[in-house]
C-alpha cells in the first residue's frame, strides 16, 4: 500500500517536472494554438471545482451533505471577505469540527 503511494508521489513528481521543463524547452508554436491555450486555462478551473465539490459532498460512492458543507459555506464567506488562505482552511475545519462536536454530521 505504502509502495503504491510512493509510486504515485514519484510519478506525479516526474510528470510535473517534465511538464515544466517542456514549457521552457519546446518551440512556442506547439503550445500557442488558441484552442490549446483555452484548454490550458480552463482545465485548472474544472478540476479544482470538481475536487472542491467531491471532497465536500461525497463519501466513497455516496453523495452526502454533512458538517463539511458548513465548512465549505464558511470558506465561501471567508473568500468573499478576502480572508487569507490559512483562515479559510482552518476556519472551515473548525466549523466542521465544532458541528461534529455538537453531534451533527
Amino acid at each position: 500500500m505504502n509502495w503504491t503511494v510512493w509510486g504515485a508521489v514519484l510519478a506525479t513528481a516526474a510528470g510535473c517536472y517534465g511538464l515544466k521543463l517542456a514549457g521552457l524547452s519546446l518551440p512556442e508554436r506547439v503550445l500557442a494554438r488558441p484552442l490549446v491555450r483555452k484548454v490550458a486555462a480552463l482545465m485548472p478551473i474544472a478540476l479544482l471545482a470538481a475536487l472542491a465539490a467531491t471532497e465536500t459532498f461525497s463519501t466513497g460512492r455516496t453523495l452526502v451533505i454533512d458538517a463539511r458543507a458548513a465548512g465549505l459555506a464558511f470558506a465561501v464567506v471567508a473568500l468573499i471577505l478576502r480572508a487569507p488562505f490559512l483562515v479559510v482552511v482552518i476556519g472551515a475545519a473548525a466549523v466542521t469540527a465544532g458541528l461534529r462536536g455538537l453531534g451533527w454530521g
Binding site: T4, V5, K20, L24, L42, A49, A67, V88
Partner: protein, 217 residues
C-alpha cells in the same frame, strides 16, 4: 524586489502548512508529503494527489488529476522562456521553479533584468518556505491526532475552493466550474472515487473550450 520575493514566500508558506497537514491526514507519511513538495513543487497538483488518495481514489487517478492540473506550468514555461533565456544546467534548475507565483512576479516586471531577478528570487524564496512549511504542517498534523475530529477532511474542500477562487473571473470561468461540479457529483455514485473528478475535468473542458469566445489568460 528581494523583499517582495520573501513576502510571496511567507504567503506561500501558509499554503505549505495546510498542504503538509492535509497530506499526512490523507494517509501520506511525513517523508512522502515532503518528497512531493521538493520534487513536484507545484501546490495545486500536490493538493489534488493527496485529496484523491485521501478520498479513497486510486494512485492512477490521483496522479492523472495532478498531472492535468500541472499542465498549466508548461504554458507558464512557454511565456517565461524568452525572458529567462536559460540553457543547459540552468534550464534544468529554472524548470523546477516554473509555478504560479514565479510566473506572476516575473511577467509583472518591465525590463528583462528585473524579470530574471524576480524569477530567481521568488523561486528560491517560495521553494524554501514551501518545503519548510510542508514539514511543519506534516509533523504538526501527525501530532494532533484524529483528522476527522479536527475537521481536516472539510479543510481539503475549502483548500480547493481557495485555489479556485482567484481563477473565477468572467462568465466562461463560472460556467466551467458549474458544469464540472454537476458532472463530478453526478458521476460519484457510479464510479470509483477519484475518477469522477478526472472525467469532469476532461468532459467539461472538451465541451466549454471550443464554445468559449472570450480570450482566456
Amino acid at each position: 524586489m528581494v523583499r517582495n520575493a520573501a513576502g510571496v514566500g511567507v504567503a506561500v508558506g501558509t499554503y505549505g502548512v495546510s498542504y503538509g497537514a492535509l497530506a499526512t491526514s490523507s494517509g501520506l507519511t511525513i517523508a512522502q508529503a515532503c518528497a512531493l513538495s521538493v520534487l513536484a513543487f507545484t501546490g495545486g497538483s500536490q493538493f489534488a494527489l493527496v485529496g484523491v488518495l485521501g478520498a479513497g481514489g486510486s494512485a492512477v487517478s490521483g496522479t492523472a488529476t495532478a498531472l492535468l492540473l500541472g499542465a498549466r506550468n508548461s504554458f507558464y514555461g512557454l511565456r517565461l522562456a524568452p525572458v529567462l533565456n536559460v540553457r543547459g544546467l540552468r534550464r534544468l534548475f529554472a524548470a523546477q521553479l516554473v509555478i504560479d507565483e514565479t510566473t506572476a512576479m516575473t511577467i509583472a516586471q518591465d525590463d528583462p533584468r528585473a524579470a530574471r531577478l524576480a524569477f530567481w528570487s521568488t523561486g528560491v524564496a517560495v521553494f524554501v518556505f514551501w518545503n519548510v512549511a510542508t514539514l511543519l504542517g506534516a509533523v504538526g498534523a501527525h501530532a494532533l491526532g484524529d483528522p476527522k475530529k479536527l475537521g481536516l477532511d472539510a479543510a481539503v474542500g475549502a483548500a480547493f475552493l481557495a485555489l479556485l477562487w482567484p481563477r473565477l473571473r468572467g462568465r466562461t470561468a463560472w460556467i466551467t466550474a458549474a458544469v464540472a461540479v454537476v458532472v463530478a457529483l453526478g458521476l460519484v455514485p457510479v464510479l470509483t472515487p477519484g475518477v469522477p473528478v478526472l472525467i469532469a475535468g476532461i468532459v467539461t473542458v472538451a465541451v466549454v473550450a471550443p464554445l468559449a469566445r472570450e480570450p482566456v489568460a
